[in-house]
Symmetry: C2
Subunit: 273 residues, 2 copies
């Protein structure tokens, strides 16, 4: 048994959808979340900028005595996971591998689609991971740059012509390729599950990155005998790098639960290298 | 006569709409533009973060021998102009004062509207400036957080249901207040002029921040005898803090002209204080 907390981080608050999955799948674990709200979004930035930021994020999280880290961000996972794993002596779980394993398991047509930020699609990381798992699976990626700002402005309801028009433009060409599995490769996208499912239809299975990485973490903790006492209720602490006034309201949207924790603000620039 | 260049900066590439105005109104001047594309957008960040970034931006620009600086960004102008002017021994022009002077001059109903980023509206800077100029003018502000990502994703065409729906939601309540003058308080918004004018109708005059600061600069250079030789054609150099691959394409949109200048990338973190 290991009661040390698990660190979770993201470029912003979108990674709270992964916290939500973690609290459902591993309710006994203590979580420490860091959202780099001062420098969000990472999605359009270059690989070396993202790696620099990710290193600082990990350095901050490691000021706590952690047993594992979850990168709750597609962009950081696709660009920086290998480097972070090589530099740190604790398990670090990204979203790409677990999600791709699930997608390869689910697809019957051997045609998988991926929607994510521009940086994630550009990195080719999902395609490469799927090809390693099954070279016969055909992968089609599609960046959806407006999904993050639309979600952050609350445009997540069925019947909203704005999100539905943008979603159709992004998704209909993907659907036309004949995929039967679609990876939601960005933390914000699970909030659009209904709208995406409406467009893709019942024959396409949606695979959510945050959920798969929570299952992967559970397996890993079990294998290494690192799980907390299962009879207890885990806690969650929240840190951000930008002002925290709106945190409770926004966090409630992503966590899909009433949140009664304030976030503490830290200066991420002090964790430079 | 003074042939030294003028520095122009913005949180990203939106400030290029101000460069466009400057090239029309002061074609003989040399311009050095810096767009902080690594840290864009500033609009949702806190006042102290924006001031910190703005100081670094000015520090970079002042590595050149400049005769003046134009802040081509509503967010930086509303939060940081006073501090930057106090700290620097060269003229710095923001967008707020010139724009408000114009709006006060234009309004007959004495009712002025302002659309801008959340940080600009929160700052209350436009309202305060207009009240100083004419306490009888009633000011209504409205943040339009989706305009910047929509413009950056090219949603600027008449007939696009996405931008038209969002614009109507933002603007119709403003129109209902009876304003006859609307300040476009963010560099991206001039690209939406047609769509905004369609909704507001011919009875509402649009005042563009970038254009007014170019006129203000012209007056200031004349008064201080700092103008360049008017018979010459000025040059423009472009610097950004993030990868530059897409610069030409995006810059052409904002400048509304074919651009044959590449941008150079600099590391803005090296200009820390």
């Amino acid at each position: 048994m290991d009661m040390r907390p698990i660190g979770v981080f993201d470029s912003g608050l979108g990674g709270l959808t992964a916290v939500r999955s973690l609290r459902q799948i591993l309710p006994e674990e203590n979580l420490i979340y860091f959202g780099d709200t001062a420098r969000v979004p990472y999605g359009g930035r270059s690989r070396d900028t993202i790696l620099k930021y990710a290193r600082q994020d990990v350095r901050f999280l490691r000021s706590f005595d952690l047993k594992a880290i979850v990168i709750a961000c597609g962009t950081i996972s696709t660009t920086s996971l290998d480097a972070l794993q090589a530099e740190n002596d604790l398990p670090i779980i990204g979203v790409v591998e677990p999600t791709c394993r699930r997608a390869v398991l689910v697809t019957k047509a051997k045609k998988v689609g991926i929607i994510a930020t521009l940086a994630s699609i550009r990195s080719g990381a999902y395609e490469a991971a799927i090809r390693r798992l099954d070279p016969e699976v055909e992968v089609t990626g599609r960046p959806c740059p407006l999904f993050v700002p639309l979600v952050e402005n609350g445009r997540i309801q069925r019947g909203d012509v704005v999100i539905e028009t943008v979603a159709r433009e992004y998704l209909e060409p993907l659907k036309a390729t004949g995929i039967d599995t679609l990876i939601l490769g960005c933390t914000h996208y699970p909030l659009l599950t209904e709208i995406i499912a409406d467009i893709m239809g019942p024959e396409v299975t949606l695979v959510s990155a945050g959920e798969e990485s929570a299952f992967e973490l559970k397996r890993m903790l079990k294998t290494r005998d690192l799980r907390a006492d299962e009879s207890r209720q885990g806690t969650a602490e929240f840190y951000v790098s930008e002002r925290t006034e709106d945190f409770e309201r926004i966090a409630s949207v992503f966590l899909q639960e009433d949140l009664h924790h304030a976030a503490r603000r830290i200066d991420i620039d002090q964790y430079g290298i």
